[in-house]
C-alpha cells in the first residue's frame, strides 16, 4: 500500500500535464489530425477558410451529427443500431406520404417521430432478448425497413414537401442555418445526458460490464429499450432535416448514414465494445469526415479517390487509438 501512494502536491507541472493528457490521447490526436488537414487545405485553397465554406461544412454534417449522437449513446452502452439509415428513410416517406394525402404537417411529423420511437423501442427489445450482438439483429431490421420504404413509395421520390418544412433547411439564425443549431442542440443534450445524468452513467456501466450492471441492480432490458427508443427519436429528427435539405423523401435517402455514423463515433474514440466514449470525440469524428470531403472537393480530387482517402483516414484514426 505504502509504495503505491503518491503525494499529489509534489507532482510537477509536466506530470500534471501528462496526467491530464493521458486519458485524452484519442481526442488530442484527432484534433491534431483535423488541424493538419485544415492547414494543408487552407494553404492550397483560398476558399477553405472563408465563413461561407465553414458554414457549408457545418450544414453538410448536421444530419450526420445527429445520427452520430444517437449512435454514440448506443455504442457507449455496448450496443449498436444498423437500422438507423433505413429508419430515416421509412420515417421520411411515411410522413411525406401522409402530408401528400392531406394530413396536416404537424400531425405528419409527430406520426413520423412516434413511428421512429416505436421502431427504436422494438430494436431495443430485440437487442435485450437477442442472445447475439445487436449488430446482427439490427442488420436484419435495416434490410426489412429498407424494403418497407421502397414498398411505400414504389421506389419513386416524394417531392411535394410542405414549404414550412423546407424552410427549416434554408432559414438562418445568427448567421448559421437552423439544421446546424438543431444538430448542436442535440449533441449538447446527448453530451449532458452522458455526463450528468444517472441514465448516462448507466449506459457506461452497461457497456463496461453488463454482468456487473445487472448484478448491481440495473434493469438491463428496460434500459436498452429506452435507449434504442431515444435513439429512434433522434434519428427521426435527422430524417426530417434531411427531407428538408434535399426537398424530397426518398426510399434510399438514409442508407449509408448508419455506417458513416459508426465510423464517426469510432474515430471519435468510442470502442465498439462500449464502456467509454464522449460526445466531444464524436463531434471531432463528424467534423473530420465533413472536413475531409470538403477539402477533397476544394482540392479537386475525383470522387473515387475521395472514397479511398476518406476510408484511409478512418483506418488511420482508429488504429492510432490502439496505443493505449
Amino acid at each position: 500500500m505504502v509504495a503505491t501512494t503518491v503525494d499529489v502536491k509534489e507532482v510537477t507541472l509536466r506530470e500534471r500535464a501528462l496526467r491530464w493528457a493521458a486519458p485524452r490521447t484519442a481526442t488530442l490526436a484527432l484534433t491534431g489530425v483535423l488541424l493538419v488537414l485544415a492547414t494543408v487545405t487552407a494553404t492550397r485553397s483560398d476558399v477553405f477558410l472563408t465563413f461561407d465554406n465553414l458554414r457549408n461544412i457545418l450544414l453538410q454534417i448536421s444530419v450526420l451529427a445527429i445520427v452520430s449522437s444517437a449512435m454514440t449513446l448506443l455504442m457507449v452502452s455496448g450496443g449498436i443500431d444498423l437500422s438507423v439509415g433505413s429508419m430515416m428513410s421509412v420515417v421520411a416517406v411515411v410522413a411525406a406520404t401522409m402530408m401528400g394525402s392531406g394530413v396536416p404537417l404537424g400531425i405528419s411529423i409527430l406520426a413520423g417521430i412516434a413511428l421512429a420511437i416505436v421502431i427504436g423501442g422494438c430494436n431495443g427489445a430485440l437487442a435485450a432478448w437477442c442472445p447475439s450482438h445487436p449488430f446482427v439483429v439490427t442488420l436484419g431490421v435495416m434490410i426489412l425497413l429498407q424494403g418497407i420504404a421502397i414498398q411505400i413509395t414504389s421506389g419513386v421520390p416524394i417531392s411535394n414537401i410542405d414549404g414550412r418544412l423546407l424552410s427549416v433547411a434554408t432559414g438562418r439564425l445568427a448567421g448559421l442555418p437552423y439544421p446546424v443549431w438543431i444538430a448542436g442542440f442535440v449533441m449538447l443534450c446527448c453530451g449532458l445526458v452522458l455526463r450528468y445524468t444517472v441514465f448516462g452513467r448507466r449506459l457506461y456501466a452497461l457497456g463496461g460490464n453488463e454482468q456487473a450492471a445487472r448484478l448491481a441492480g440495473l434493469r438491463v432490458k428496460r434500459t436498452k429499450i429506452l435507449l434504442y427508443a431515444v435513439s429512434g427519436f433522434l434519428v427521426s429528427i435527422a430524417a426530417f432535416l434531411l427531407t428538408a435539405r434535399i426537398a424530397s423523401a426518398q426510399p434510399l435517402m438514409g442508407s449509408g448514414y448508419e455506417l458513416q455514423a459508426i465510423a464517426a463515433v469510432a474515430v471519435g474514440g468510442t470502442p465498439l465494445a462500449g464502456g467509454r466514449g464522449t460526445i466531444v470525440g464524436t463531434l471531432l469524428g463528424v467534423l473530420l469526415l465533413g472536413v475531409i470531403s470538403n477539402s477533397l472537393n476544394l482540392l479537386g480530387v475525383s470522387g473515387a479517390y475521395q472514397y479511398v482517402l476518406q476510408g484511409g483516414v478512418i483506418v488511420i484514426a482508429v488504429m492510432s487509438q490502439r496505443t493505449r
Partner: protein
C-alpha cells in the same frame, strides 16, 4: 514429507536474479531484488498486496520488462525476458485469473499453439487424448469438451496448470493457486507440487494463506515495499514471525464472536428458505438467516453454494420452495428487485462481475442506489463523491481520490469498492461469496473486522467461502452443502473435520 533436495541431490539454481528493479511511474514496485530459484525446491513468496510479489512473478516470467538488474537462467544472463523466451526456457506463471481462450473448449486450450497434426490437419482424436492425459496427470476431473467460459474458476485454474505442464514448464510460479479450490482439490494440488519438486522442477508458491506456505514450502522469501526483507528456510519461521515480517507491524488479532445462542433463541430470522430447489443443482434447501449473525456456507466447488447465493440475490429463480423475507414472500426475479428488498450479493468473480473498470470509485460505490446520489436523475462528480465519501473513508480505499477509475486501483482496493457498493445500498442481508479470495493478510483481517462490525449493526451476513479457517473464525453457524443439498448445519464452536466430512459427502447430519 520427503525432502526433495536430498532425493534429487540437486539444489542448483535454475533461475537467479540480481538487483532486479521495476518502477511504474513514480512508484517503485521492485527495488533491487536478488534471489535464487532452485531445482527441487518449493519456494514460498509472501508479502502484502503491493509488496511487489506479482511484479516479481511478471519480471521473471517475462510479462513485465525490468528497469534494471539481471536474470540468469541456466547460467545464461538476460537483461529482460519476454513471455515467449521465458516459455521456451521452461518458465511459466499460473495466474490468479488464468489466461485462457474463454470461447474454446478445454481440450483446445490445453493444446493451443501445439495442436497435434497429421498431414497439416489438426487431429482432433489426438487433441482429445492429449488433453485427457494432461488433466489425468494432475488428477483433475474437468470435462474436456466444454468451453472454458462454462467452467468454474477452480476448474479453469486446473486447466491452466495442466496446459503449462504440457508445454514443458520446469520453473512454475503459482500465484494464489488455491484461492478457488476446495479442500480436496487443494490437497491434490499440493501433492502435484510436491511431485513436481521431487522430479527436479522449481516451484515458486505465492500465497496469502500462511498455513499453506508452512505445509509445502522449503524456503520462504518475504517481500515488503518492493524489497526482500527475509529469505529463510521455512523451519526458522513461524506464523507470527512471518506475519510480522510481512506487515512490519503487529497484526490486529481476530475478534472472535460473542455469544451466539442469544440469537437463535430470541431473534426471528430475516430470511427463511423452505424446500428451495432448482432443477438438479439445488434440492430442498432449508435455511434461516438471522439479523446480527454470520451464517457460513461451506462446500466444495460444485456444491451449490454459489447457485444458492445467486438465487437469494435474484440472479436466478428457484423453481420450487418458498422464501420469506421479514415475513413476506420473497421471490426476486432480478437483482434490482433483490436490492430493493435489501438483499445484496458481493459476487465471487468480483472483477468481472462487480467492478466498472472505466468508471470512478464514487460511481462504482453509488451505482446500485442512485436515488441517494442524484437529483431528479441528474448527477455530478461532486455529488457522487460527496455521497460515496463516508463509505470510501470507512473502507479506507486508496488512493483517496473518488474520481480515480476502477481500473487504476490495486486488487485489494477494487474489492473494497465492490464491497462498498453493496454497503451503500444499506443491506439487510449481505451475501459475501469468497470475500477474501486473493487478498493479502492485512486486507483479509480488515474485511473480517468489517463483517463483525456489520453484524453488530444488525445486518445478516451470509458468508460463502471455501476457506474453512475463515468460515470457522467468522461464522455463528455453518451450513454445509454438497451436491446441491444441505448435508449438515453446525453452531459455533466448530469442528473442522466434521465440516469437511459433511462437505465431501459423508452424510452426518447435526444441528
Amino acid at each position: 514429507m520427503a525432502d526433495p533436495l536430498q532425493e534429487t541431490g540437486n539444489g542448483r539454481a535454475l533461475v537467479a536474479v540480481s538487483a532486479l528493479e521495476k518502477r511504474f511511474g513514480a512508484v517503485v514496485a521492485v527495488g533491487g531484488v536478488s534471489l535464487e530459484i532452485r531445482a527441487g525446491e518449493v519456494l514460498g513468496l509472501v508479502g502484502e498486496n503491493g509488496a511487489g510479489k506479482s511484479t516479481m512473478v511478471g519480471l521473471i516470467s517475462g510479462s513485465i520488462a525490468p528497469d534494471g538488474g539481471r536474470i540468469r537462467v541456466d547460467g545464461q544472463e538476460y537483461a529482460a525476458l519476454d513471455p515467449h523466451t521465458a516459455g521456451s526456457l521452461g518458465i511459466a506463471a499460473i495466474r490468479q485469473e488464468p489466461v485462457l481462450v474463454r470461447t474454446l473448449s478445454v481440450a483446445e486450450n490445453l493444446v493451443l499453439g501445439r495442436e497435434p497434426r497429421r498431414l497439416g490437419i489438426v487431429s482432433w482424436r489426438e487433441v482429445r487424448q492429449r488433453a485427457a492425459r494432461l488433466l489425468a496427470e494432475i488428477d483433475a476431473q474437468v470435462p474436456i469438451g466444454v468451453a472454458v467460459e462454462a467452467l468454474s474458476p477452480a476448474d479453469r485454474q486446473l486447466v491452466e496448470v495442466a496446459r503449462n505442464l504440457g508445454a514443458g514448464a520446469r520453473v512454475l510460479f503459482f500465484d494464489e493457486p488455491t484461492a478457488a479450490l476446495g479442500p480436496a482439490e487443494t490437497e491434490r494440488l499440493f501433492e502435484l507440487i510436491r511431485r513436481l519438486a521431487a522430479s527436479g522442477a522449481a516451484v515458486v508458491y505465492v500465497s496469502h494463506r500462511l498455513e499453506e506456505i508452512f505445509e509445502i514450502c522449503q524456503r520462504v522469501v518475504v517481500m515488503r515495499d518492493g524489497l526482500v526483507v527475509a529469505d529463510r528456510p521455512v523451519g526458522e519461521l513461524n506464523e507470527e514471525t512471518l506475519v510480522a515480517a510481512m506487515a512490519g507491524r503487529e497484526l490486529v488479532a481476530q475478534e472472535r464472536a460473542e455469544a451466539r445462542e442469544r440469537h437463535e433463541s430470541s431473534v426471528e430470522p430475516v430470511l427463511s428458505l423452505r424446500g428451495v430447489g432448482q432443477g438438479r443443482r439445488l434440492v430442498g434447501i432449508d435455511l434461516d438467516i438471522r439479523p446480527g449473525e454470520v451464517h457460513g456456507l461451506a462446500g466444495i466447488v460444485g456444491s451449490g453454494r454459489t447457485r444458492l447465493s445467486s438465487i437469494l440475490a435474484g440472479l436466478f429463480s428457484a423453481d420450487e420452495g418458498e422464501m420469506t423475507l421479514n415475513g413476506r414472500r420473497y421471490a426476486p426475479s432480478s437483482p434490482a428487485e433483490a436490492i430493493r428488498a435489501g438483499v445484496l450479493l458481493v459476487p465471487e468473480d468480483r472483477l468481472s462481475a462487480g467492478l466498472f473498470a472505466d468508471l470512478s470509485q464514487a460511481t462504482n460505490i453509488v451505482f446500485s442506489r442512485y436515488d441517494k446520489a442524484s437529483r431528479r436523475g441528474f448527477v455530478s462528480r461532486a455529488l457522487e463523491a460527496r455521497s460515496a465519501g463516508a463509505l470510501l473513508e470507512r473502507l479506507d480505499v486508496r488512493p483517496r481520490n473518488p474520481q480515480a477509475h476502477g481500473r487504476t486501483l490495486s486488487g485489494g482496493n477494487q474489492q473494497k469498492v465492490v464491497l462498498g457498493r453493496a454497503l451503500f445500498a444499506e443491506p439487510k442481508v449481505l451475501i459475501l461469496d469468497e470475500p477474501t479470495r486473493g487478498v493479502d493478510v492485512g486486507a483479509k483481517a480488515y474485511i473480517h473486522r468489517l463483517v463483525r462490525e456489520l453484524v453488530s449493526e444488525g445486518v445478516a451476513v451470509v458468508l460463502a467461502s471455501s476457506d474453512l479457517r475463515e468460515l470457522t473464525a467468522l461464522s455463528d453457524r455453518i451450513t454445509v452443502m454438497a451436491r446441491g443439498r444441505v448435508t449438515a448445519s453446525f453452531p459455533a464452536p466448530f469442528d473442522s473435520e466434521r465440516i469437511m466430512a459433511a462437505a465431501t459427502g459423508a452424510t452426518a447430519r447435526s444441528s
